[in-house]
């Protein structure tokens, strides 16, 4: 089926070659073989020849070997490979052909610009590197409906793409009044063969910005394919010539979208109706992400509003929080199933409410990305909290099916609607998770029956996630993740984050670490292969130690992940709570950051203890940890675990109570919590010891710690 297509490409290439030959001998006849051949305004001779071959072409005679080389690349058998090579040959010939014209001052009538000089390339290239020009759209041919071509160009301009036009479409777009030129990043090049200026532009981008030199064909093709996010929209019937050029584009890694019924070649050639659909297909085919400079919502949006609370009196609309049924969910789907920027509100919206009213809410965010993983869904979902709080006049509390959102009177007065909530989430998810999320769609349900139905499904997902979290154990995974964020103030501190021991600030768990690494591969979260096991009980691995040595710059030789007495993990400064040895009780006390008192059995309050524990040093007997670590099966495994806790602030008891009781039950000590003292029971070692004896605390009969 594709054979006639390939044959056509090859025929086209021969035609362009013949054209170039004729033009060249013509020029030689008129100007002699030493006549110069160059584009005006470039340091790269004939750029396609410069970038893909090692031939130096500055004179008419010099172009001959380039054309012979091209001829050698055109082979008759209609195979895919031959078609692509014929395409490459077409580009070489077309660049020479165009250069012949430019060298003799033959220019195209306005508005066509022909060759785009280096000076413009440099200016625009900066924005391509910067991402504010996120890609390149090349539109060629003739649209059956000029209005459609015009609207496509407008769409491309809106996303910030660089647009090149060649063929009759130039006149069609011009007639529609669309602004073109450097300021609009839209270049009408000329008749169809002039499209090669889009290619020589891209090649020069590789030479200027990719650090490539003459004739580095392979790296150049890979630069074009991966860095220059270009695609071609071919409008109207395709003749031999346009197919040969299309093959050249494909050789350079630019997918070609045609509005004709062409046989599809995955990733290279696809058939697609012109207009909006083609715009979307092109952008998606290249994974182009528009840089969202300002989130388009009617309220101010940014981290400065994060701490804002909205009081009941100032609330216009409310969702969840006990008043209505509500949930939020992030799920991932294959790229083909998610339409980026699709935001749907199903059911009544804010204007349908009176002030102070409430609606059910089912907030479903569907994301897709080549590097997205199911495990990251929960990481993204927790981000909804921050995103909603970024809005001035929007407040978010809690998560999952306890979510609670308030919208202020002021926000509603400014025109805030539920769709804006979706817009905020779309924009931030894309920018915060740039590396793993390519598409985001948001659906907001506000009809009670829809929300209830959705909630049932969401609960299944939550349950699956929790089950998955339980199977994620330190023994089951091959690598942990580091966090070195705190090195800015504790220079040698490294957190090793494992499934069963979260970062000591309590904010980074293993999945966060994993996602963090995917999002910023050069960032503070790096995979730490466990390596050979040295002591499973204390939690010692060769890989961990090697990592810690390297990243503490040889100041910490390594550590035992589950021990506090022997080579414990270092503590930076942002630990949620501190574990401290109470020798008299043969156990440890735990005090949380919020505890303001100075009275504890070890004689020091949180802040005094923090002063001696922190700073990235190892202090056997003392350690900062995240609260949740107390519930882990690996909690102080080397010293005997949870039964070693003899004292805990009342506040922590309350916070962790049910979970702690559950964990105590699991280890066969259901009444352990009652045996642990707090500040209302004892604040001196003597009183503590007395209480523990009376209560029969297990620590007293455990192996002596010192």
């Amino acid at each position: 089926m594709t054979e006639p297509l390939f044959a056509s490409c090859i025929r086209g290439a021969r035609a362009v070659l013949a054209l170039a030959r004729d033009s060249l001998s013509d020029a030689i006849a008129r100007r002699g073989p030493e006549g110069s051949l160059a584009y005006p305004g470039t340091a790269y001779e004939i750029p396609v020849v410069f970038g893909l071959t090692d031939l130096e072409v500055t004179t008419l005679r010099g172009a001959e070997p380039a054309l012979s080389l091209a001829e050698g690349m055109i082979r008759d058998r209609p195979t895919a490979e031959n078609a692509l090579d014929a395409g490459a040959a077409t580009l070489l010939c077309a660049d020479i052909l165009e250069a012949l014209g430019h060298a003799e001052g033959r220019t195209y009538p306005a508005p066509c610009v022909g060759f785009v000089p280096d000076s413009v390339l440099r200016k625009l290239g900066i924005f391509m590197v910067d991402g504010s020009v996120p890609g390149v759209a090349v539109v060629v041919g003739r649209a059956s409906d000029p209005a459609v071509a015009a609207s496509m160009v407008r769409d491309f301009q809106e996303v910030g793409l660089l647009v090149f036009l060649a063929g009759d479409v130039v006149g069609q777009v011009e007639a529609s009044g669309i602004k073109m030129g450097e300021d609009f990043r839209t270049f009408p090049l000329g008749p169809l063969p002039a499209v090669v200026h889009a290619v020589n532009f891209a090649v020069r981008a590789g030479l200027t910005f990719g650090g490539l030199g003459r004739g580095q064909a392979e790296p150049m093709l890979s630069y074009l394919a991966t860095r220059v996010k270009a695609f071609v929209c071919a409008l109207g019937p395709l003749d031999d010539l346009s197919l040969a050029i299309a093959a050249g584009a494909m050789k350079a890694g630019f997918p070609v979208l045609s509005d004709q019924a062409v046989p599809a070649i995955p990733g290279a050639l696809l058939s697609c109706p012109p207009g909006e659909e083609m715009v979307r297909a092109g952008i998606e085919a290249r994974g182009i992400k528009a840089k969202i400079v300002k989130v388009p919502v009617p309220i101010a949006f940014g981290p400065s509003y994060e701490g804002e609370r909205i009081r009941k009196a100032d609330t216009y609309a409310e969702f969840g929080g006990g008043r209505t049924v509500a949930y939020e969910l992030v799920t991932s789907a294959p790229l083909s199933e998610v339409r980026d920027r699709e935001i749907r509100v199903v059911g009544p919206d804010i204007p349908d409410l009176e002030k102070g009213g409430a609606l059910p809410l089912g907030l479903v965010v569907t994301v897709a990305g080549a590097r997205m993983q199911k495990d990251f869904e929960s990481v993204l979902e927790r981000r909804i909290h921050r995103i909603v709080n970024f809005g001035e006049g929007t407040m978010h509390v809690a998560q999952r099916d306890t979510t609670w959102i308030r919208i202020s009177d002021e926000a509603v007065a400014r025109g805030f609607r539920l769709a804006d909530l979706g817009t905020m989430i779309h924009a931030k998810m894309l920018s915060d998770f740039e590396n793993i999320v390519d598409r985001v769609a948001v659906t907001i349900h506000t009809r009670e029956e829809d929300v209830r139905a959705g909630l049932a499904g969401a609960r299944t997902v939550y349950a699956e996630r929790d089950a998955r979290a339980r199977t994620l154990t330190d023994d089951a995974v091959g690598e942990f993740y580091s966090c070195t964020l705190c090195q800015s103030f504790a220079p040698n501190h490294v957190c090793i984050v494992t499934p069963e021991r979260l970062g000591l600030c309590g904010a980074i768990n293993w999945l966060d670490g994993k996602a963090g690494y995917e999002i910023t591969p050069t960032g503070p979260n790096q995979p730490v292969p466990k390596g050979d096991e040295r002591d499973p009980v204390k939690g010692a691995w060769e890989g961990v130690n090697a990592f810690v040595r390297e990243h503490s710059r040889n100041t910490v030789p390594g550590f035992n992940l589950y021990s506090i007495m022997e080579a414990p993990m270092t503590s930076c400064g942002c630990f949620e709570c501190i574990l401290a040895l109470v020798p008299e009780a043969n156990g440890f006390m735990v005090v949380n950051r919020e505890y303001a008192g100075a009275e504890t059995p070890c004689g020091m309050g949180f802040s005094t203890l923090a002063g001696s524990v922190g700073g990235g040093v190892q202090t056997p007997g003392f350690m900062g940890v995240g609260k949740q670590y107390l519930l882990s099966r690996k909690f102080l495994a080397a010293e005997g675990g949870l039964p070693r806790i003899v004292w805990m602030t009342k506040e922590m008891k309350e916070q962790l109570g049910p979970a702690l009781a559950k964990r105590a039950g699991e280890i066969g000590m259901p009444d352990l919590l009652d045996k642990i003292a707090d500040e209302t029971i004892a604040v001196t070692p003597e009183r503590l010891r007395e209480y523990l004896e009376k209560a029969g605390h297990p620590a007293l009969s455990m192996k002596p710690l010192v």
């Binding site: 440099r122 200016k123 290239g125 900066i126 924005f127 391509m128 590197v129 910067d130 991402g131 200027t208 910005f209 990719g210 650090g211 070195t484 090195q487 800015s488 220079p491 910023t520 050069t522 960032g523 503070p524 710059r553 040889n554």
Partner: protein
């Protein structure tokens, strides 16, 4: 009995970076060393380079500087020519502070024009700094990169704008000063990210943020030392020359305040505040120092060539 050789040898070498000069000027190379400063061992092919800063815009000069600049001209090109010549600065750091909306609000084109004029007047290597205001700098760097008719370094690229600055540098063949806020990991990340974009390593300098004496210098000292140790120990992304910009020492009250009589003459004091900051940076391992006071350039230049450097 054998006594262990206390000399430390490192597996790494700091990359040598050259700041090119204009016609008739002398280019400056820094880096290339295999050891810490102030120690007898190792190779140290290049001494630290001392440069001088010129700032555009309507800032009030500290008394010590207005004294030193008196009669040397107000036009940036003239002032730069005079100061570089008199002080013997090896490179010029031109800060386009005047483009900041609060410090003159020069149009971007004017900033670019100043760069062109100054580069013509002064043949020594140059680093061009933005104004520090994000939106303005986003326009300024591309314009400066285009206006500079010979390769300079653009200062600075940070976590937010590195793509733009790198793009501007690549487009016209300039170098980049990679800035990080006293954070070794961010310094490393900045270099990795610039590398990903395609900025060649020999066109990157590390600016770790230099706090003035009494205002964070000790943090800078420690970070410079740690970056250097990491680089020498084999971390290629950190094996780059370090630039310490002493500008913050001129923000210290001690360097400015003429009201405190017991502190001594503010004109001498300001200069010495910068000088003290400079010595610490050199001892920590800095490869380039940016001074504002011409006398300090002279003093430091005289000493970096000392045999113990």
């Amino acid at each position: 009995m054998t006594v262990a050789n206390p000399q430390q040898t490192f597996p790494g070498r700091i990359m040598e970076v050259t700041l090119p000069a204009g016609e008739g000027g002398r280019s400056v190379s820094v880096g290339g060393q295999t050891a810490l400063p102030l120690l007898p061992e190792g190779e140290r092919p290049n001494a630290a380079a001392i440069g001088i800063e010129i700032r555009t815009g309507d800032e009030d000069l500290p008394p010590s500087l207005s004294h030193a600049f008196g009669g040397k001209g107000t036009d940036p090109a003239v002032l730069a020519g005079n100061l570089v010549e008199e002080s013997g600065a090896q490179f010029l750091f031109l800060s386009l502070a005047g483009c900041h909306p609060d410090l003159g609000g020069h149009a971007v084109s004017r900033g670019a024009g100043i760069v062109r004029d100054v580069l013509q007047a002064v043949p020594c290597p140059a680093i061009v700094g933005g104004c520090g205001e994000e939106e303005t700098d986003a326009l300024l760097f591309p314009a400066v990169a285009e206006a500079a008719q010979r390769p300079v370094f653009l200062s600075y690229a940070d976590e937010k704008n590195y793509r733009l600055v790198a793009g501007a540098a690549l487009a016209y063949g300039h170098g980049v000063v990679a800035w990080s806020p006293i954070d070794i990991n961010m310094a490393k990340q900045a270099n990795l990210l610039l590398g990903d974009i395609g900025v060649p390593p020999h066109r990157v300098l590390i600016d770790p943020l230099t706090g003035g004496l009494g205002y964070g210098l000790e943090y800078t000292y420690s970070i410079v030392e740690r970056i250097r140790l990491a680089g020498l120990s084999g971390d290629a992304a950190l094996a780059r020359p370090i630039l310490c910009h002493l500008g913050d020492s001129w923000k210290a009250r001690e360097a400015l305040d003429s009201a405190e009589e017991s502190w001594g003459d503010v004109i001498a004091r300001g200069r010495r505040w910068e000088e003290a900051t400079a010595w610490a940076c050199l001892a920590a391992g800095a490869d380039l120092l940016v001074c504002r006071h011409p006398d300090n350039v002279r003093t430091l230049r005289g000493m970096v060539g000392a045999p113990w450097r």
